[in-house]
């Protein structure tokens, strides 16, 4: 077993175990914090796949943004921290069917030959610079349109959250 494999298994275990905690814990704060470890584990897996930009984005957006938002949401809402959340089983049969389909397709991917992707012919280089250059050249328009989406979302959120007023 090489160092690469050892590192992979450490982070894979971290991801899966913390994901189990998220699903099965009854305390919403524990769930939120173990989600942090799931996200970090996934980010590490991206690094192992040479997807450096994706890994950093994963940490910035999910850990830095979404998770903090989630924790604030929990903390600012009354009576959420102390209340046990329901983790019982509902809709057993549809859930079993869905789980069987997912396990089946995962197994198919695992045992089929096209699942094994070889090492790239040339050593991968850092992608962040190339992505940045593309955003300013070939994808300049999507980059600008994204700002319209954010503008519309900001105005919409402000409008929806504002106190009732007269026109």
């Amino acid at each position: 077993m090489e160092t690469f494999d050892i590192v992979f298994y450490i982070f894979a275990t971290l991801t899966i175990v913390s994901a189990f905690v998220v699903v099965f814990t009854k305390n919403i704060m524990y769930a939120a914090f173990s989600l942090l470890f799931t996200f970090i584990g996934v980010a590490a897996l991206y690094v192992l796949l040479h997807a450096d930009f994706l890994a950093v984005t994963q940490i910035l957006i999910y850990v830095g943004g979404i998770l903090v938002l989630l924790l604030f949401g929990v903390m600012l809402t009354n009576n959420v921290v102390s209340v046990d959340i329901k983790t019982g089983t509902l809709n057993t049969i549809p859930a079993l069917v869905a789980a069987a389909v997912i396990v089946g397709s995962l197994a198919a991917v695992f045992y089929m030959t096209w699942s094994t992707v070889g090492e790239p012919a040339t050593a991968p280089t850092a992608t962040t610079r190339a992505i940045g250059e593309l955003l300013m050249t070939g994808y300049a328009l999507p980059f600008e349109v994204a700002s319209v989406v954010l503008l519309a979302a900001l105005i919409g959120a402000a409008l929806m959250a504002r106190r009732t007023r007269k026109p």
């Binding site: 050249t137 070939g138 349109v145 319209v148 989406v149 409008l159 929806m160």
Partner: protein, 476 residues
């Protein structure tokens, strides 16, 4: 890749640049002018009129800009014209309606122009990333506009439902794009069409197209993803429903026609068969459910599902007739549906939020103009000549027959006959039933003018359809 972006690229965007600039101008105006409402209304009208003129001027010169990620002129300009015309009529009808709902807030115009920007970007997209961002711009603006009357419970329900289901559909669309990108190694839509034949046998490509189809079918409101339509159209402010059902649908179909072009459909046969079944189901389910509705808005919502089926027929045809038919149909549908929702928005009052069909009894005596215009829009929606609705159906069905989908055209014609029942029932109620609709509102000068305009246009397009068809022919 080293592509310098120049001013020429920005100028080539034409109507998109105008509307986007208008959105930003409104944001600034709102913050520096006190009591900005009338000013913002007129600026919105002006911006949309300039955008329409700009689209009309650039329709003959097709090309690409921004390194081939966006289409300019031709196809994009034609749809920009459709969107600006629809949005202009909606804007003209809006102030009177918003005052009745006590929500005449200035943000309305900003969000409306943002939605139109998104629609134009969608119809001009030559890259899946550009298309996605256009779709999101339009959808985010619509989520907010649907819940614009905040004190109304149904409006909140409408916004919530549209937002949750829309986000879900976006997920499908994005997953489909990822898989298509995975097979092609490119997000270019032109490349997707040209290399579809080479990849048609790959399961991953077909699954990607299938997921894209789910997203599109949701956005154009066809069966089986039509459940949100009646609740959303009923709860949203009436003029917003008018824009969603016309501009939103047209933009989704414009992109649909770009992504699922003739090359893609001819090589991906299973996808085409699924689409044919969905089109037939949309026509059947939409028309049959529309018969049993008592609320006019819900009836129009189910009728919009049925129209999605007719238009989808033109997409499936995957030939010039079908594509021309789709483009003509969307212009005609925009005019007649904005008109129908416009009449409703005038008839509604502060207390009557939802006009039922029975409320219209005797309307021809108390409001002869409104009744006459509504009857005209209903005739056009049914597809009775000489109105434009007839030629829309004629072209898409001709395309379907040319492509060997005769059974689909037969289903379409039978279902058009079924639809005559509920469209004409409205006319019968207005003209031949006794009643005293005193509780309905009256039209302002601007309101009546903005209903007469689409009515004249529908008649003109119905008498001279070749003027528009000559335009759409140039786009391919």
């Amino acid at each position: 890749m080293n592509l310098p972006i120049t001013w020429n690229d920005v100028l080539a965007l034409g109507p998109i640049a105008v509307v986007f600039g208008g959105t930003l101008l409104l944001v600034v105006l709102e913050s520096i002018v006190r009591k900005a409402s009338p000013l913002m209304f007129w600026v919105t009208v002006g911006v949309l009129a300039v955008a329409a003129g700009c689209a009309l001027a650039t329709i003959g010169v097709a090309g690409t800009a921004f390194g081939g990620t966006v289409l300019t002129g031709g196809y994009a300009s034609y749809f920009a014209l459709v969107f600006s015309a629809g949005a202009l009529l909606v804007t003209l009808l809006s102030p009177a309606y918003l005052l009745k709902r006590a929500t005449a807030f200035t943000e309305y115009y900003i969000l409306l122009l943002a939605a139109v920007t998104g629609m134009m970007v969608m119809a001009a997209s030559n890259d899946l990333v550009v298309f996605f961002l256009g779709l999101e711009t339009m959808s985010v603006a619509f989520y907010v506009l649907a819940g614009f009357t905040r004190q109304s419970v149904t409006s909140n329900e409408s916004a919530m439902k549209y937002f949750l289901l829309g986000a879900f559909a976006t997920g499908f669309l994005l997953y489909g794009m990822a898989l298509v990108y995975g097979t092609l190694g490119s997000t270019s839509i032109a490349m997707l069409r040209s290399s579809a034949a080479a990849h048609a046998g790959e399961p991953l490509f077909l699954v990607g197209l299938g997921l894209l189809l789910v997203g599109f079918v949701f956005k154009v409101a066809a069966v089986p993803f039509h459940m949100w339509v009646p609740d959303v159209y009923e709860g949203a402010p009436t003029m917003v429903s008018g824009l969603m059902s016309t501009g939103g649908k047209s933009a989704a179909f414009a992109a649909f026609l770009l992504v699922f072009g003739a090359d893609v459909l001819q090589s991906a046969a299973p996808i085409r068969e699924v689409m044919a079944v969905l089109a037939a189901l949309s026509m059947i389910v939409g028309n049959i459910l529309a018969i049993s509705q008592t609320s006019v808005k819900r009836m129009l919502a189910y009728s919009s599902v049925a129209h999605a089926g007719y238009i989808l027929t033109g997409v499936i045809a995957a030939n010039a007739d079908g594509a021309n038919g789709v483009m003509f149909y969307l212009l005609a549908y925009t005019l007649m549906n904005v008109g129908a929702f416009g009449v409703l928005s005038i008839l509604e009052t502060a207390s009557v939020e939802n006009v039922r069909i029975d409320d219209l009894a005797g309307l021809s005596r108390t409001r002869p103009w409104l009744a006459g215009l509504m009857a005209l829009f209903m005739f056009s929606l049914t597809g009775i000549p000489p109105f434009a609705g007839f030629f829309g159906k004629y072209y898409v069905f001709t395309g379907a027959i040319g492509a060997g989908y005769t059974w689909l055209a037969i289903v379409g014609v039978i279902m058009s006959v079924v639809s005559a029942y509920y469209y004409l029932r409205l006319v019968v109620v207005m003209y031949f039933q006794e009643g005293s609709p005193d509780q309905v509102g009256t039209a302002t000068g601007i309101g009546l003018a903005s209903l007469v305009l689409p009515a004249i246009a529908l008649l003109a397009l119905g008498l001279l359809p070749s003027t528009i068809v000559n335009l759409t022919m140039q786009c391919f």
